[in-house]
Symmetry: C2
C-alpha cells in the first residue's frame, strides 16, 4: 500500500468514518402554525451545530431533517462534515417537527387531530427558515447573512430541494440525495419501487434470490392460518412480538416486506448501522444464505425456518439480540411518516406478479379509508404535493443537485436526468439510499466519489457566484454612497 | 381629428373603457387551512370568468384578487380584458378569501381569532393555485394544462409576484402592478410613502397645496377640543357620522389622511370610480379649490369651512350625496386589511416634519399593542413577509414585471429597477396606483401606453418560450414512444 493510500485509510478508519463528530445541541422557539393565526403556540425545535470548521464568514451547511431523531441523520451523513473544512462551513442538522424531541405538544403530539395536524412539510420548511434566520442574525452572521446550502437524504432530500424552491432567499442551493420527489400520483408508475427492489435481489450472485422471497408469502400465509402455526412461527423465528391473531399475520408480512426493502436501501458496500446493524452488502448476505432454498421449498415449515435464519442478517447480525424484532428502526418514526403519508405524502405503491412481493394493486379509496381509521384524516387531495411543489415542472428552479443510487428503490421516483443548467441529476449506478451523504469509505465505488466531487464543485460554483454578486452589490452601494 | 384617432376615440368611448365586460360567476370549494390538518372545513371561493376570447388553447389570464370584492378589481382592470383577444386568453378574476362573498365562516368570519386566523397571504395563494388546478383540469384544459399569467394591482400585485415565486409550476409569469413588496421592516424607510403623497400635492399647479393640508391638522384639533367645536364641524362638513367624542376626532383625522392618500392613489388623468367617484386628476381638483387658503388661514373655523368645501371633491363629486362619508371605500375592506397588517403585512409608516401630515414616528410596540386590542393578535414577527417571500432578494425569481407609477405613494415600496433579465421593472412617471391595469383611455400618458406594451411583449415572450418547450417536450415524447 502506497503511503498516501495508507494515510487515507488510517484517516478514514480513525477519523473520517464511523467517527462521532461533536455537535452542540440547541433549541429555538418556532410557531406551531406558521401560516394561520388561530393560536400563538410555540415549541422548541432542536438542532445540532458544529462550528469547528467555520471561519471567514463561510457558509452554513444546513441538513433539513427527516422523519426521525436528528442524531440518526447527523451520524449517517458524514460527507457534510468531511466537506465542511474545504468551505469553512458551519454545519447544522435541524430536526423535523414531530420527530425526535421536537414535539409541538410533548407526549400528546400524536394523540389527537388537533395536535398532530400541524405535522406537514410546509410547516417544517418554515421551521427551517426560522432557524436559518436565527443563525444568520446570530454572532455567525454579524458580518452579513451567511449563504446557506441545504443538504438532505430521502424525505430530507425532498425538503432540501423544496426549501430551495420555496425559499430561495434563505437557501442558495441544495444537495438533494435520494429524494423521491416524483413518487406521487400520476408522476411515476406505482410499481417501479417494487420492481427495483426485486431487481436488486435478482442481481446478487444468486440470481434466484428473488424467487426465494416470492415463495415466502404464500408459505407464511399457509402456516399461520392455524393458531398452532402462528405459535410455531413465533417460536421458530424467536419473534419479540408473538403472532397470535390474523391481524398480527398481516402486520408481520408488512414488517418482513419493509425489512427486505430496508436491506435494499442500506445495501452499502461496508457494514452500517443506519437501518439496523447490518453487514456490507446486506442483500448479498441474505441472498447467500438463501442459496439452495429449493431443497426445502416443498415443505413450508422447513422453508420458513431456512428463510428465518437468513432474515437474522437483518435483526441479529451482531448475534446479541435475544429475540428478533422486525418492527420500527431505532430513531425512525414510522407512525409520524404514516400520518404524513395519510395527509400530504400520498405515494402510490403497487406490486406486480413479476415482483418478489405479493401482488397488490394501488387503491386510493382503500388507502384513504385506512388513513381515516388510523388517524381520523384522509388525504385532502392525492395531488397536494404536486400542487405545492410543482411535480415534474422544475423549469423555474435553480441550484439543485439531485443524486440517486440505482440500487435504491426510491430512485424510481427520483430526478434522474438534468432539468436545466443549474438543476442537475447525478446517477450512482452502484449506490443504495443516499450513499453519497455518508462518510467516505475505502469500499466506496468510484461513482459515489464522483458524485461527491460533483456536489462539492456545484457548491463551489454557487458560492463563487454568490460572493461575486455580493461584492458587486456592495461595491455598487459604496459607489452610490460616494456620489 | 384624423380617422384612426376618431375610430379609437369612438371605440374607447363605447367599448374599451367604462364598459361592463360580462363575467360568469363561479365558485369552488377550497380548504380553510391548506397547510395543516387539524380540521377539514372548506368554503366557497368566488371567481369571475370570461371565455369570450378564449380559443386554440390560449392561456389563462388570472387576476389574484386583493382586499375587497373581486368585482371592484374586475371593473378597474380593463387592460386585462383588452389584452385577452390578442392572446386568445381565458380571463379569470379570483376573489381573495375573507373579502367580498368569499367568507370562510360566513358572517362570523371576522368575529373570533379561531375564525379570522386563516386570513393570510399564504392561504390565499394556495386558494388561487387550487382554482388554477380546477380550470386546468376542466374543459378548458382538455388538451393539456393551459399556461397561466397572473395579474394583480397593489396587494393583488404582490400576490401576483408571489404566486410566481412560490408556485412557478402553476403560474408561468406575473404582471405585478404597483406592488409594494418592499414596504416592509428594514427594506424601505418608513417615511417614503408620506414623502411621495406630499410631493404629489406640492407638484400640482398650486405648489402651496401641501402647505394648506399641513395647516389642517392643528386647526381641526383646536376646533374639536370642545363639544361645541365637534358639533360645529359635524354640521359644517355635513358629516354622515357626527363627531361627539375625542376618539371620533382621532378617527376623523385618520379618515381625512386616508382620503388625501386615496386622492393621490387615484390621481388618474380622467374621472374614475375606483376609490370613490372622482374627477380627472383629483389632486389637482382639490388643490385648485385650496388656492387662496392663506386668506382664511388665521381663522380656524373659516379655514375648516374652506377645506371642507375642497374635500367635497372626494365625498361628493357628483353632488348627489346627502352627507359626507369619509369612511370605507365601497368594495374595499379596511377591517380585513387591518387584520392582515396586524399579522403578516406589517408596513412601517411614519411622517416627518417636511410632510403635509402630522408628525408621527413608527413605533412597533405601540402598533402591536393596538393590534392586540383590536384583534387579539399581534404580528408574530415583523419580518414574517420577508422570511416568507424573500424581501429584496429576488435573484432566483423569473418572469415577473413590476410596474410602478411615480405619482403613486406605494411606488416607494415598489421594485423600481430591473432585478435580472427576466424580472423587470417599469416606471410610469405620470402614473398613479396601477394605472396600467385600467382600460386604455385617450387621456393616458405615453408612459402608461409604453408600460402596457411592455406587459404585452413580456407575456408574448414567456408564452412563446413555453409553447416552444412544450412542443419540444412533446416531440421528444413522440420520439421516445416511436423507438
Amino acid at each position: 500500500m502506497k503511503t498516501p493510500m495508507l494515510l487515507l485509510f488510517l484517516y478514514i478508519l480513525f477519523v473520517g468514518c464511523e467517527c462521532d463528530y461533536i455537535f452542540q445541541t440547541k433549541y429555538t422557539d418556532v410557531p406551531v402554525d406558521h401560516f394561520s393565526y388561530t393560536n400563538n403556540h410555540t415549541f422548541k425545535l432542536k438542532y445540532l451545530i458544529n462550528d469547528g470548521n467555520w471561519s471567514d464568514n463561510g457558509p452554513i451547511f444546513f441538513y433539513t431533517g427527516n422523519e426521525g431523531s436528528i442524531e440518526l441523520f447527523a451520524e449517517n451523513s458524514g460527507f457534510i462534515m468531511e466537506l465542511a473544512p474545504k468551505f469553512n462551513a458551519l454545519v447544522v442538522f435541524c430536526e423535523h417537527r414531530y420527530y425526535g424531541t421536537s414535539l409541538p405538544f410533548g407526549n400528546l403530539s400524536y394523540t389527537k387531530p388537533e395536535y398532530v395536524g400541524y405535522l406537514s412539510s410546509e410547516q417544517a420548511l418554515h421551521d427551517f427558515v426560522d432557524v436559518i434566520d436565527v443563525l444568520q442574525k446570530s454572532k455567525y452572521g454579524s458580518n452579513g447573512p451567511l449563504p446557506v446550502i441545504a443538504f438532505g437524504g430521502s424525505y430530507g432530500g425532498m425538503l432540501a430541494a423544496w426549501i430551495r424552491l420555496k425559499y430561495p432567499a434563505s437557501v442558495l442551493g441544495a444537495i438533494a440525495a435520494s429524494a423521491p420527489i416524483l413518487q406521487f400520483t400520476d408522476l411515476t408508475p406505482c410499481g417501479i419501487f417494487n420492481n427495483i427492489v426485486t431487481y436488486v435481489y435478482a442481481s446478487t450472485s444468486d440470481s434466484k434470490c428473488s424467487d426465494a422471497v416470492k415463495l415466502f408469502w404464500p408459505s407464511v400465509r399457509r402456516v399461520t392460518k392455524t393458531p398452532e402455526g402462528k405459535a410455531w412461527l413465533s417460536s421458530e423465528w424467536k419473534l419479540c412480538k408473538n403472532i397470535t391473531k390474523d391481524e398480527d399475520v398481516e402486520n408481520f408480512i408488512d414488517d418482513i416486506s419493509n425489512a427486505l426493502v430496508n436491506l435494499a436501501m442500506a445495501n452499502y458496500p461496508y457494514p452500517s448501522t443506519f437501518l439496523g446493524d447490518l453487514p456490507a452488502f446486506p442483500v448479498n448476505a441474505i441472498c447467500t444464505k438463501l442459496k439452495g432454498f429449493k431443497n426445502c421449498a416443498q415443505d413450508d415449515k422447513k422453508f420458513l425456518s431456512f428463510f428465518g435464519n437468513a432474515m437474522n442478517i437483518y435483526t441479529n447480525y451482531s448475534g446479541k439480540a435475544k429475540c428478533n424484532d422486525f418492527g420500527d428502526v431505532d430513531g425512525l418514526s414510522t407512525s409520524g411518516w404514516d400520518y404524513q403519508s395519510c395527509t400530504e405524502m400520498v405515494m402510490p405503491m403497487c406490486s406486480e406478479s413479476t415482483d418478489m412481493f405479493e401482488n397488490s394493486a394501488w387503491n386510493f379509496d382503500k388507502y384513504a379509508a385506512g388513513c381515516l381509521k388510523r388517524w381520523g384524516v384522509k388525504p385532502r387531495n392525492p395531488s397536494e404535493v404536486i400542487l405545492q411543489y410543482g411535480g415534474k415542472n422544475l423549469k423555474a428552479a435553480s441550484n439543485i443537485v439531485f443524486s440517486n443510487g440505482l440500487l435504491d428503490p426510491w430512485s424510481g421516483g427520483g430526478v434522474l436526468s438534468n432539468i436545466s443548467k443549474t438543476v442537475s441529476a447525478i446517477v450512482i449506478p452502484e449506490g443504495a439510499h443516499h450513499l453519497d451523504l455518508r462518510s467516505s469509505n475505502p469500499a466506496d465505488p468510484p461513482s459515489v466519489r464522483k458524485a461527491r466531487k460533483f456536489h462539492s464543485d456545484s457548491i463551489h460554483k454557487w458560492l463563487k457566484k454568490y460572493y461575486q454578486e455580493r461584492m458587486y452589490d456592495e461595491r455598487l452601494l459604496v459607489n452610490l454612497l460616494m456620489k
